[in-house]
Symmetry: C2
């Protein structure tokens, strides 16, 4: 039995599994206006941020998620000048976005300022680029922000949300996606983290259905490993405002800057959809 003094455990009730990290100590915990945020010092994963009992990121392997949320969409858009990130308060996705020289402005809208302040303290490597003059950090309701944003004002929208419960539930709806569609400029692309291919096929199916219902016609789901998330396997789903997602800029993807997980080969690989997922998505308009 794992002693709670030595281990942080997240139980995935619906899947019947649990994942634990060995900890030295809990270094911080607070109740923000929106959620409970805990920070642990682990023995092997660096710092761990937990929100409402769910693991959000660890120092050791957040590169997988952040690289895969930022780079595929930014190397697919031919000229990603104006980018917004909905959620993403830990600033790891923002850091990857800012590595793209084509990006002229990056707005991050997270409802909970405390996530960012704690990231500055416990994950400083992720927030080091926040003083980049292209950056705007807003702490606000991303759903309302999108509703009020100017039409055709963004090239790329990245939805870096928590699971579709609590504050993030509204980010997984066709109403929100409709606003995104309106705010995207011609050629604009959206990407949404889309949960585990093994545990959450119903959610993935719902994201596909809602994106299509909102008017997005071409979708691509990317698959990648993510050790601390349920099942250790995760996905992100990309959609275009236009009729077809263009081929990605493979030469740039291979040469623009050094990455740990992402590459042009990994980008192509992430687009390979396992047959059992393809079969499960039938009926969602795919």
């Amino acid at each position: 039995m794992l002693d709670d003094n030595d281990w942080f455990t997240e139980v995935h009730q619906d899947a019947g599994s649990a994942f634990s990290l060995r900890i030295r100590r809990k270094v911080h915990e607070e109740q923000s206006p929106f959620q409970t945020i805990s920070i642990y010092e682990t023995t092997d994963f660096g710092h761990l941020m937990v929100i409402d009992g769910c693991t959000m990121l660890s120092s050791r392997e957040n590169f997988l998620y952040h690289e895969m949320l930022a780079h595929p969409v930014l190397f697919t858009h031919p000229d990603p000048r104006r980018v917004c990130i909905i959620g993403g308060g830990d600033c790891g996705t923002l850091r990857e976005v800012l590595r793209h020289p084509e990006v002229a402005s990056a707005v991050q809208i997270d409802i909970d300022e405390r996530v960012t302040r704690l990231a500055e303290r416990f994950f400083p490597e992720l927030t080091a680029a926040n003083d980049d003059p292209r950056t705007t950090l807003l702490f606000d309701d991303g759903i309302r922000w999108m509703r009020e944003a100017a039409t055709a004002s963004l090239e790329v929208i990245i939805i870096d949300s928590t699971d579709p419960v609590g504050p993030a539930a509204g980010l997984f709806t066709d109403a929100f996606y409709r606003d995104c569609l309106r705010v995207l400029a011609p050629g604009g692309l959206l990407v949404q983290q889309s949960e585990s291919p093994l545990y959450h096929l119903d959610i993935l199916r719902g994201i596909h259905r809602d994106l299509r219902s909102a008017g997005f016609s071409d979708l691509q789901t990317l698959f990648f490993p993510q050790t601390i998330y349920p099942s250790g396997w995760w996905s992100a789903t990309m959609a275009t405002r236009d009729s077809t997602i263009p081929a990605f800029r493979a030469a740039a993807a291979n040469s623009a800057f050094e990455t740990r997980y992402y590459s042009a080969d990994i980008h192509r690989a992430a687009l390979a959809q396992p047959p059992f997922v393809t079969r499960a998505l039938r009926g969602s308009g795919d």
Copy 2:
């Protein structure tokens, strides 16, 4: 805290993590001449086999591992007639091997007959093809078997082993690989399960080094998700007796039979090596 009456937990001491499955009950446990084998009935993963405290397979997601150990190597060899599986006592890899009509004989050599007998009882879907006339099940020391096997007598060797400790340690050595090389016919291929890319880069590096030192010159490592194994992310490494691993038979891979995870696209995708792995493998001869 997870109650041991309700959860089976495997602790990955070196990685500082643990993975748990919720159980209804332990349905069997025995000490074989080689190891302790336990079978659990889980709430969401079907049956679970545990050997010496390490999760071996679950009904729910063993298809990932078994398809990825069998199909890439068999669709890469142009004519895989004679196949042997070292280890693999649960017969899941054997089942996938037998789906290839080119296979004329499949010999499985596992040291522990009890693994197979328990698979017949608790994972009957994996052993259903064992009465195929092409099959020979041997319960013997795979290392000695390979040492005594006829030169150039196999097209494909699949090393479906447990971790490189205990009875399986000898399967991760250049001495064993040298025997494999001798036993492979011209054009012959070997594949070895090669642990987690996130947790076990040192083992993966050792496998590459030992395969090269044994005389294998061209290697390919395949990456795939595997929820119940440490980190949820796994690998297998393929090597050729000749100078170059040929292109795989993609048309056959897409049409030969229905699979759940494997496809020609997934085969190509699995070969994409993340940059951090490529950097770690430098110095192993890669």
